[in-house]
Symmetry: D2
Subunit: 256 residues, 4 copies
């Protein structure tokens, strides 16, 4: 379990997203309200963003400390200004190293992704089957040992044969459904992906409770989060649905 944040719209300072809201990602780290598993999100964190004006691969900043203990983040949050941001505070599986490689977002070329959820007993269940079906490129991409990174590696592969990012996420979930059934393995897969031009999110689980996912649309931006960060007209993304935030901020919700 983690807490996710995706932002698409007018460029804003990271601060506005990560620290300033009443129930900011920092607060969700030590006092989350809607976790379906785990107590805290204090096992590292990460932020990824696209440049507001310049064409460039996205940028990431990750740390293994609890987000509230990272002094560098205070400077970076005052400096970084972006119109497309993904952020994550992590609740790790017990007994694994809180290595940087296990912190999100994951990045590949122009693609960023974050995941909230888990594959049950991952190393004993879908770990090897998921790896075995990866292309060499996606296989070699993997640096850590989280289920999240293996799902992201699957997205990398599916993107090769999909019409767009929404379809790639849909196909990835189908791969998980099939493997989950074949190996009788429950999983939950709330994901937020971006290529800088759009934001795509999923809310999905099989055999375990579906984690929450909310979105908020206003005139100049869309927020997608695990938990509402302030009072406002937040809407729950329906279970088993995909959300696409297009470049013009129009939304599509499609059942999975």
């Amino acid at each position: 379990m983690c807490r996710l944040l995706g932002y698409f719209g007018q460029p804003v300072l990271l601060d506005r997203l990560i620290s300033q809201p009443d129930h900011s990602l920092v607060v969700q780290s030590y006092q989350p309200k809607e976790m379906t598993a785990g107590l805290l999100n204090a096992d590292g964190f990460g932020v990824g963003w696209y440049h507001a004006t310049r064409k460039a691969e996205p940028f990431t900043y990750r740390n293994t400390l609890p987000i509230w203990n990272d002094l560098n983040l205070q400077s970076l949050s005052r400096y970084v200004e972006s119109g497309c941001v993904l952020a994550n505070v992590r609740s790790a599986t017990a007994g694994l190293a809180t290595d940087l490689s296990n912190c999100q977002p994951f990045q590949h070329a122009s693609l960023l992704g974050i995941h909230n959820g888990f594959i049950k007993d991952f190393r004993q269940t879908l770990y090897r089957p998921m790896r075995d079906r990866l292309s060499d490129l996606a296989y070699q991409f993997i640096q850590g040992l989280t289920d999240s990174e293996h799902i992201f590696a699957t997205v990398i592969d599916e993107l090769e044969t999909s019409a767009n990012l929404t379809e790639a996420l849909h196909h990835t979930l189908k791969v998980l459904m099939e493997l989950g059934e074949a190996h009788q393995t429950p999983f939950s897969a709330n994901l937020i992906l971006s290529d800088g031009n759009q934001l795509v999110a999923s809310r999905y689980a099989q055999g375990v409770p579906t984690p929450t996912l909310y979105y908020l649309q206003d005139s100049g931006s869309v927020l997608v989060v695990s938990e509402p960060m302030f009072d406002g007209n937040w809407k729950a993304l329906p279970d088993r649905c995909l959300l696409t935030v297009h470049h013009d901020l129009k939304l599509d919700i499609t059942p999975i």
Copy 2:
């Protein structure tokens, strides 16, 4: 606020003290029950211990990670076997670096010490007055910037002119009382100290609620803790009292 543990008696594996109890120090790190301030104790931790058979300066192991995320501690807890142990999980003051220098226990020659509590607005109140009265030795000893380390440095000085460790702790608290009054500064000062031959603890506060402190005596050992770690005949150390655990495991409780 932190959570403290002191053990004196038959040598035991660290594991037995830190991880195995139902409400172990690890659990108190992410789910404490009796905090008078703060929510978690996830801003680093530390363990100090004396050799079970060999005469030597005590040993310390400290880390800035939450205690539950330190994989090395799992090995060390299975290896280290000691009859005199002090341990601490830390709840830091917001905005300060979670540096190693700010993690407890503090060690000076054969002395180990841990502190739970705080001096209100420390840097603006007693910080400079406390330093100004230190000997050069105690002054130069200080590595970090916590109120706790400055209290420990005062113990180092008071020990020079005290008959024993209990008296040194008593004198240290008197220094705090006087400075606290002179500068109208509330503070709380639950401490556990040891020189390897005895354990001394205090429960004291001035102008703020006194943090809890419990002890448990059985045939071969005495435990002193912020929160009871398992079902048993724990007794609350009365407010404004000193507890001395003598080498023969006899206890003295004296009012401050």
Copy 3:
């Protein structure tokens, strides 16, 4: 001993300063050429910069890892674009924690500073005398225990009564000279300071060899460094001199 870099001029990506040159700060970290003490600069590092267009307090990023091992820096170096940058790779005094608080640059309000050099046996010599003469503000500012930070705290105080940053640096060096003589303590003090509108540097030592400091002026910028980073018309700042890089990129060199 550390290696210093100061940049003032047209906004550039950090990458251009830190990683890309042949003898970049990264290379100087593991293979420095002109150290007067120490072998490596692998005990942490830091970068500070001012916003290229927006009025704001400067930003800092520091880490205790060797600079070559920081994956986040790769992203930040591609993202951060600034016309006024200070950076430092650190060679620590043995036996002290490589805490974040001991990493440079130091920042206070709009002021950034870095220091290469050392005060001999600092904790036993000028540590307490330097602290004793600080204002409460500068005293409370100090987070770590390096000589460098204590010199920077003295700058904070001297700035209050100086006409400009150059004068404040000059006065700070005079304080060091007097204290150094009074306590028979050799020291070296190559510093680079900025307030975002200018860069000021010193090359000075008393009783020990003066560390190197070079500058390079071209049409749109001035670089000040411990070691030349690429082939070019680098000039050694004369010993016991101050260098001022004015806002219009004009240079002043004045003897100390």
Copy 4:
């Protein structure tokens, strides 16, 4: 490239092995003499040891900092006393996270192992072929992404069908030779392994220079190291040979 140390014999303090020798592992970290690739060994380190008297799984302590910057190690080196020790200072492949999972020694049940050398372009060459032939147990064991850990995982598998540890190491090298030839991939594989009852080492390379490996036998112990640590009757292990240090300290050298 890394620097290795194996010790078997009378129990000694870690200090005696790691810090006190003239050319100790700490010195080899910042000033190695016989590296065939790389300049430093400052990308983390680790120590593994067996209990001197009690039957138990071995213990490990690893850190991503340079070994000279680990303050905890100073305490542990004064405390830990063992008759069977493996230690490693690491020189990482550029661009990979210096994660704990990539630090050695590796441990599986009673087995400890360290590796000096590399598989050329590992992720593009033998990474996937090596994983594909692993048992599920060895596959799931892997936590990081080093070639070293994949070689160790192969040892885990080979041990299942080998008469002893020496044979398991020999079989592992044969696997590497075959895969190396099949994929035209040079590699070097200096390894030290132990199960607490013996020490086994290899010196081997294919298509690249063989790293050095020395041993020193005295009345009560045997040392195996990448670089001699002090003046003494060190002997170079011949290229393409295995060294077995039996429980009675007798040595066997057999060609691979």
